[in-house]
């Protein structure tokens, strides 16, 4: 049974259909990477999974359970199972790193404080920020803030983590520290769907690459198959442009 199964998902912005039937699945512990030109709908796939952009057709299943986005309660059920990190890190400005991590588990989930705190410490260790627990976000670099955002998403113990270009707002020298944190998550067996322009990184961590264009999946397969032997002209064009440099 796939851990995440997306079948024929459609979404619109007004009259414009931006997802025209998207289907892919991943197993537990696998990482899928969505790649493709700007405007192809990669972010919209993740937003639709999180219930931020309404789905107008198709189905989503997580570990065999159908997700239905038709009511606030159902949307919450999807948000209970998945967490997303965006390009902009969006930390709560007036809270410390520790408070950022523990707010949702304590105040929204009402989990046990001691457990939440020790889990938050573990996650800060994982992203290499154990010494920053009491810092505020404006005292951190972009890369550090993004790693906090990653830890904050994980503090809710999602079954699936969605990452939307989490390194593209960062200065080049800060990209690697965030990628390292994602590598560690991959090693821990986290199931992830990532949107990234870091093709070398995608090749390294992804089990499956999904190439999208114009709201559709053009090709999907292993990184080697997609990057080295793309079957379609569109994929070949795209990769020849971006892999050159």
């Amino acid at each position: 049974m796939p851990h995440l199964a997306v079948s024929d998902v459609r979404a619109k912005y007004g009259a414009l259909e931006v997802l025209k039937g998207i289907s892919f699945e991943i197993q537990k512990g696998e990482i899928a990477a969505l790649v493709g030109p700007s405007g192809s709908g990669k972010s919209t796939v993740l937003r639709a999974l999180m219930g931020l952009t309404p789905i107008t057709g198709g189905a989503v299943e997580i570990a065999g359970e159908a997700m239905n986005y038709s009511s606030a309660r159902e949307v919450r059920a999807a948000r209970d199972r998945m967490a997303i990190v965006f390009q902009q890190y969006n930390l709560f400005q007036n809270m410390t790193v520790m408070q950022n991590l523990t707010l949702a588990p304590l105040k929204i989930k009402k989990w046990d404080k001691a457990e939440v705190t020790s889990e938050a410490r573990r996650l800060l260790g994982l992203v290499g920020l154990s010494d920053k627990a009491d810092a505020y976000s404006d005292q951190l670099s972009g890369g550090q803030q993004q790693r906090v955002a990653l830890a904050r998403a994980l503090a809710l113990k999602p079954q699936i983590l969605l990452l939307d270009e989490v390194t593209s707002a960062l200065d080049p020298e800060l990209v690697n520290e965030v990628l390292d944190a994602i590598r560690k998550l991959a090693d821990e067996g986290m199931t992830m769907v990532i949107v990234s322009h870091e093709m070398a990184f995608v090749r390294e961590v992804a089990d499956k690459v999904v190439f999208m264009d114009n709201g559709q999946i053009i090709e999907a397969g292993t990184p080697a198959a997609i990057f080295d032997e793309p079957k379609t002209d569109r994929a070949r064009d795209f990769f020849s442009k971006i892999l050159r440099h």
């Binding site: 931020l52 948000r79 707010l103 949702a104 929204i108 904050r152 809710l156």
Partner: protein
């Protein structure tokens, strides 16, 4: 100029002026705090509620901001007894000031709501936050930071200009107290010189208090001077 200032009489009645200043301070703080709650509620409604509620808020804001505070307070002062409500002068003033501040703060806070980035709200939503939690954990801290100067200025307006309207309905706040005392011995200039200085001190204390509150609660980097 051959007017001879005689501050002795003012000094004799200084405790009464202090009482007036204390009342002014309380009125200003409560009206601002109450107005901030109203403003926050109305700005939330303006941002998220369906149109009939938004229309209601708009009506309130337009009605209040386009009429003088004095008229609104007179309305409560003379109007409420007609419908059988007997409130003290202080209560009429406080309610009037609060409703007045609420309308202006709706406008100020609404601007703050609009300046919150959508992505921050979405980050909160995906963490499972309810609307109230989004307002509390994302919007209010953002507003406190981004429009702190506007809020602080308006607080001074309420504290100084708003409360002094009380003098006209017989509330013994600082201005009222000064008028009362100076009608007894005609030392107008002396009283009002001292009272002006007391207002300056009052706003000074209030500004420091507000800056400390902002720093403590929202990490606003407010300058006190």
């Amino acid at each position: 100029m051959n007017y001879r200032f005689q501050f002795g009489v003012v000094w004799d009645n200084f405790p009464e002026l202090l009482e007036g200043a204390w009342l002014t301070f309380q009125l200003g703080c409560f009206a601002f705090a109450g107005g901030a709650l109203i403003g926050l509620f109305c700005a939330t409604v303006k941002t998220y509620a369906p149109w009939p509620f938004r229309l209601l808020v708009d009506t309130y804001v337009v009605f209040i901001t386009n009429t003088p505070a004095l008229i609104q307070i007179y309305f409560l002062y003379f109007g409420l007894p007609e419908v059988g409500l007997r409130w003290s002068n202080e209560a009429c003033l406080l309610i009037g000031l609060t409703l007045n501040a609420g309308a202006y703060l709706t406008l100020i806070l609404r601007a703050g709501f609009l300046s919150v980035r959508v992505t921050e709200i979405e980050a909160g939503q995906t963490l499972g936050m309810s609307l109230i939690q989004q307002v509390r954990y994302i919007i209010v801290p953002h507003i406190a930071k981004s429009i702190y100067p506007a809020l602080a200025n308006f607080f001074i307006v309420v504290l100084v200009m708003g409360t002094s309207v009380g003098a006209l309905i017989g509330v013994d706040e600082l201005t009222g107290q000064a008028i009362n005392l100076s009608t007894v011995n005609y030392r107008w200039l002396e009283y009002f010189t001292v009272v002006a200085a007391m207002y300056v001190v009052l706003t000074f204390i209030a500004s420091i208090g507000l800056a400390l509150l902002g720093r403590w609660a929202f990490r606003v980097k407010a300058r006190i001077f």
